[in-house]
């Protein structure tokens, strides 16, 4: 079994409640596993922290999108109205900045929103139609009422029997190997 490590994605343990999963994730970290992931039917507070994932770049990407959108919006209006085709409308200054605020604001929001969503998807590496966890039949319940913890094969401490034992010790309801067919 252990010879085929390259074809093994990891070992998956199944739990009944979010509390059990949270406790299991903490124990896995304490046991020294680094490459673990959890799968839950809804977001669970503290779980990302428990599997060792703290910082996300989504807010920063959103900020960049917002600032970029705002500058683009104002720059566009300034350039069109004062540089490219300056035209006197009712004696208003060419750079009538108060009138440029609404469009600047809208493009700020648009830029931030698009960056936020595209950034979130890109960091999550979505779309990703194939993933080894989908090979486990019981995993479909991850979108209903089952909570899964996976210790991945790339973890330096990884060892199938050791992981299986670990899951049994913390009384996972079900333990499976996750095969990678690629």
């Amino acid at each position: 079994m252990t010879e085929h490590r390259s074809h093994l994605h990891g070992v998956m343990g199944e739990f009944d409640t979010p509390e059990q999963l949270l406790a299991a994730a903490r124990k896995a970290r304490e046991a020294g596993y680094k490459h673990i992931d959890a799968y839950t039917p809804f977001p669970i507070e503290g779980l990302a922290h428990a599997i060792g994932f703290r910082w996300t770049a989504v807010p920063l990407i959103t900020l960049i999108g917002g600032v970029g959108g705002g500058l683009t919006g104002f720059g566009l209006q300034y350039w069109c109205s004062a540089v490219s085709y300056p035209i006197n409308i009712a004696g208003r200054p060419l750079n009538s900045w108060p009138a440029f605020i609404p469009v600047t604001f809208e493009l700020t929001v648009l830029g931030a929103a698009i960056f936020s969503v595209v950034g979130m998807l890109a960091l999550n590496k979505l779309p990703e139609p194939y993933h080894p966890v989908f090979n486990v039949e019981r995993f479909a319940a991850a979108s209903t009422d089952r909570f899964f913890l996976v210790i991945e094969a790339r973890d330096p401490k990884f060892d199938v029997t050791g992981c299986a034992k670990f899951f049994q010790e913390i009384s996972a309801r079900h333990v499976t190997e996750v095969k990678d067919e690629e």
């Binding site: 917002g66 609404p102 929001v109 648009l110 698009i114 209903t144």
Partner: protein
């Protein structure tokens, strides 16, 4: 739900979700509407009716494009008729969806959970109906791209000092952000449908739409971050959209339009009509698909309270319009105020007061708020009232300009009505398709709500 926190002597709050539900039962119940429930005769009949209205819309718009806007009732001086009334009405209806999904999310109002998904869908469809009107109102919709700043061979640019151009940016941004907010919310639910789908056809479609979402904790973490940020962005956006729409009027010098109360009063009116539309949709939806466990009396009661509150803001807006007209002493403004009461369209104004101010006062009574039939009728009355409000604003002001020689009359033609009723058909048809194609209630959020309710129960 724990009821101990309620003040003594008051009726305990209805639950946000009926007790006894588990993660699996909420998932089953909501997903079954999409995946397993057969098409009923009611759905087919409703779809057929609304589809035929969309065909009527196609004919009416086709005829409009062939003949030009002369087939409408607009004339000089009443250059803005039904098209603009309908535009403002539809875009206002959309606002409740964003309010529920974004503002109530930021305010941590848990009751939004079971109504946010279809309210957001309502927003999208209402914005689609709204967007049609300025487009066809240009008279030459194939030239509509003139409104966007693109490097044309003529070297000219849009007039960025004009509220009409602000409107183009506000509405298109609003439509785009609403769409991506809705899609982000749908992502985990599409994955749920993919995992439960039985037929190959469903698996492939939901599989592609869900982008391989696998409920990973890392994904959820970034997802929640993005969702919160989107809610924070959508909140000022929704307030800005109807503000900009009101600038279309308020920046003009026409009496009855040129008032500073317009932005807040338009936003309140938008939310008012939007919540009325959410009720109009929610009441039949929960009945038809047996979703009373999820869309409970608590939701209907809360929505009625929001309508009452925003209705009072709107009433204040009407009062301020009159007050400012007389307080300013501007004879054109005073004249216009009198025209609303005594002019040729005064029956519209009185109908508006009846629908928007007097009838909703019944919502103070708890028995009315808890009577589903009464709420449904009330929601229709308020939607009518808000449509009349936009008619009063657009048409009465234009018929009574500064000079008597510029006065006129307006009456809508068959084609005006055909296009308006056609967009109603389009809106309802899209809702029909939506409830059978996508989960009408956010499943992942409902599971979260079950979890939170259980935790509260243990405490």
């Amino acid at each position: 739900m724990s009821t101990t926190a309620e003040p003594r002597g008051m009726r305990p709050l209805d639950p946000m979700i009926e007790p006894g539900h588990t993660y699996a039962s909420v998932t089953d119940k909501i997903a079954a509407v999409v995946l397993t429930r057969p098409l009923g005769i009611g759905w087919l009949a409703g779809f057929a009716l609304t589809f035929s209205l969309v065909m009527m819309l196609n004919i009416a718009v086709g005829w409009l494009i062939t003949k030009g806007v002369g087939i409408w009732g607009i004339n000089i001086p009443i250059g803005w008729g039904f098209a603009i009334v309908n535009f403002v009405w539809w875009i206002g209806i959309g606002h409740a969806g964003t309010l529920i999904s974004a503002i109530l999310f930021l305010l941590n109002q848990k009751w939004r959970t079971s109504i946010n998904r279809f309210a957001e869908a309502m927003t999208l469809f209402a914005v689609a109906c709204a967007g049609l009107f300025p487009l066809i109102h240009t008279g030459r919709p194939w030239m509509a791209y003139y409104m966007f700043p693109y490097p044309s061979t003529m070297g000219i640019w849009p007039q960025f000092r004009s509220p009409l151009i602000w409107d183009v940016f506000a509405v298109s941004t609003y439509g785009t952000v609403s769409l991506i907010f809705w899609f982000v919310g749908l992502l985990p639910d599409l994955a749920t449908l993919r995992d439960r789908a039985k037929s190959r056809y469903q698996q492939v479609i939901y599989g592609m739409l869900s982008m391989g979402w696998r409920n990973s904790a890392r994904h959820w973490h970034r997802y929640q971050s993005a969702y919160l940020l989107l809610a924070g962005l959508a909140t000022p956006l929704v307030l800005s959209v109807h503000t900009v729409v009101s600038f279309d009027f308020a920046v003009a010098i026409v009496p009855g339009w040129h008032t500073t109360i317009f932005p807040p009063y338009f936003v309140a009116g938008a939310i008012y009509s939007g919540f009325a539309m959410v009720l109009t949709l929610a009441i039949p939806l929960r009945k038809a698909y047996g979703l009373e466990d999820f869309i409970t009396m608590r939701h209907l009661d809360n929505m009625a309270k929001v309508m009452l509150a925003t209705g009072l803001i709107v009433a204040y807006g009407y009062f301020v319009e009159f007050f400012m007209a007389f307080y300013s002493g501007n004879k054109f403004d005073v004249f216009l105020a009198e025209q609303r009461l005594h002019g040729p369209y005064s029956h519209f104004y009185f109908a508006l007061i009846l629908c928007n101010i007097l009838t909703p006062q019944l919502l103070w009574i708890s028995k009315v708020r808890r009577n589903v039939a009464a709420l449904f009728i009330m929601s229709l009355v308020i939607n009518t009232g808000m449509w009349l409000e936009r008619f009063v604003i657009v048409v009465i002001s234009l018929t009574r300009d500064f000079m008597p020689s510029a006065w006129g009359r307006y009456s809508a033609t068959f084609w005006d009505y055909a296009i308006f009723v056609g967009t109603l058909g389009l809106f309802v048809m899209l809702m029909f398709l939506f409830v059978r194609g996508l989960p009408a209630i956010a499943i992942a959020e409902m599971r979260e709500l079950v979890h939170e309710t259980e935790e509260k129960g243990h405490q």
